[in-house]
Symmetry: C2
DNA sequence: TTATTTTTGTACCAATCGGTACGAAACACA
DNA sequence: TGTGTTTCGTACCGATTGGTACAAAAATAA
């Protein structure tokens, strides 16, 4: 019988096996980029945190930009699914509030760097990082799209009045999300953000 | 008679006169830091934009961190006074709206880098930049204080109902300001931000 | 003129940057 | 025991980083 304690079968490939877990290494890289940003994170910072050396990094993840993209992908996959979930709430208004609450939890989580990687990863940076900046802006607009679609659905469903503007509303709540990230990065507490959320919900159409 | 075309008297100090205008040079440095952030701006970027060489930079402005602080000071002095002015509006509500409008103008100004230096100058960065980060967070809280004081005044003056929370309101509008900066930095237009502002004003206590 | 003072440009510093060449090491297979 | 294959660690690459030493240049004062 197979080893039941190990989830994956192991038809070991030829060659020397790698001595680190790429998944853990990627998570370590995520933390570094998260708290230092693309420019502020050096390869030495990264390899030190990941517990590997540069050739291993390059062989496994590519150059710094590729690594960053993989990190962003990991971030999106692990830190944002709560949004889709929240937006499944039968009430769009509740859904949005739950998105804001979840984001507030995330950007002030005591075990993670404060703020959102998609915001502080590369807001302003130098050199050939335009692609990075565009990537992050795209990912950010992803969550805005989520909100907009939910709001459009709410309008056709009657929860939002016909004169409401789902486009503007999704942009507004996205802006509040970005703002909360900046505030958290600057030291705002979860409680601080709660009062922001409560007020932001006042903008909901009467 | 004195030279009437020159504003300042000129009791030239001894030594070789400097060949550049420190004011213009500082403005050039401001632009570089504004669009590349602290980490992304190299001394080569700075000296190239300022039109001077490194020894002149060091003699006049100190090292990179000192230069950045002077740049931030310049930024605050030139880009934020519109806030005090706007908050002198007899209506606090109008004042806040004018602050948001002015900020939207500023962060999308076609001749300047998009976004706010106090936000994107050093949100996440590496090395010994903790002081820089704290400085910027402090400057940001400056505008929040402005809003809070105005709102407190509005409450004692009766424009805001007693049950309103000036603390929370100022934090909310500050958060919207930071969010608009991020959005502008990511490509949002002035028009986009206007719809955000209109919705943000809905949060004003009934 | 000479002396003094300050700025300028060049040339340079050690350290670090992102990125790689290369041989030893560790596995499967024969 | 090889042999093939892949990763590992070290040592290194040229370029760039932030920061300076130094002497020529440009001004005033004597």
């Amino acid at each position: 019988m197979g080893k039941v304690t190990k989830a994956k079968k192991k038809p070991l490939p030829p060659g020397r096996p790698r001595a680190f877990d790429p998944d853990r290494a990627l998570n370590a890289a995520l933390r570094v980029f998260w708290e230092k940003g693309y420019d502020g994170a050096s390869l030495s910072d990264l390899t030190a945190a990941m517990g590997i050396n540069k050739p291993s990094l390059y062989a496994t993840f590519g150059d710094k930009q590729e690594l960053f993209r993989k990190v962003v992908e990991r971030y999106v996959q692990t830190q944002t699914p709560f949004m889709q979930e929240a937006l499944e709430d039968p009430s769009a208004r509740n859904g949005i509030r739950r998105v804001l609450n979840g984001a507030a939890d995330s950007v002030t989580h005591p075990l993670n760097p404060h703020g959102c990687l998609l915001v502080q990863g590369a807001l302003a940076c130098g050199g050939e990082t335009d692609g990075i900046k565009r990537d992050l802006a795209e990912k950010r607009s992803g969550s805005e799209n989520l909100l907009r679609n939910r709001l459009l659905r709410a309008q056709t469903g009657g929860e939002l009045p016909p004169e409401a503007d789902p486009e503007a509303l999704s942009r507004f709540y996205s802006t509040v999300l970005r703002g909360m990230s900046v505030e958290a990065s600057g030291g705002a507490t979860r409680k601080d953000l709660q009062s922001v959320i409560d007020l932001a919900m006042n903008a909901w159409p009467a």
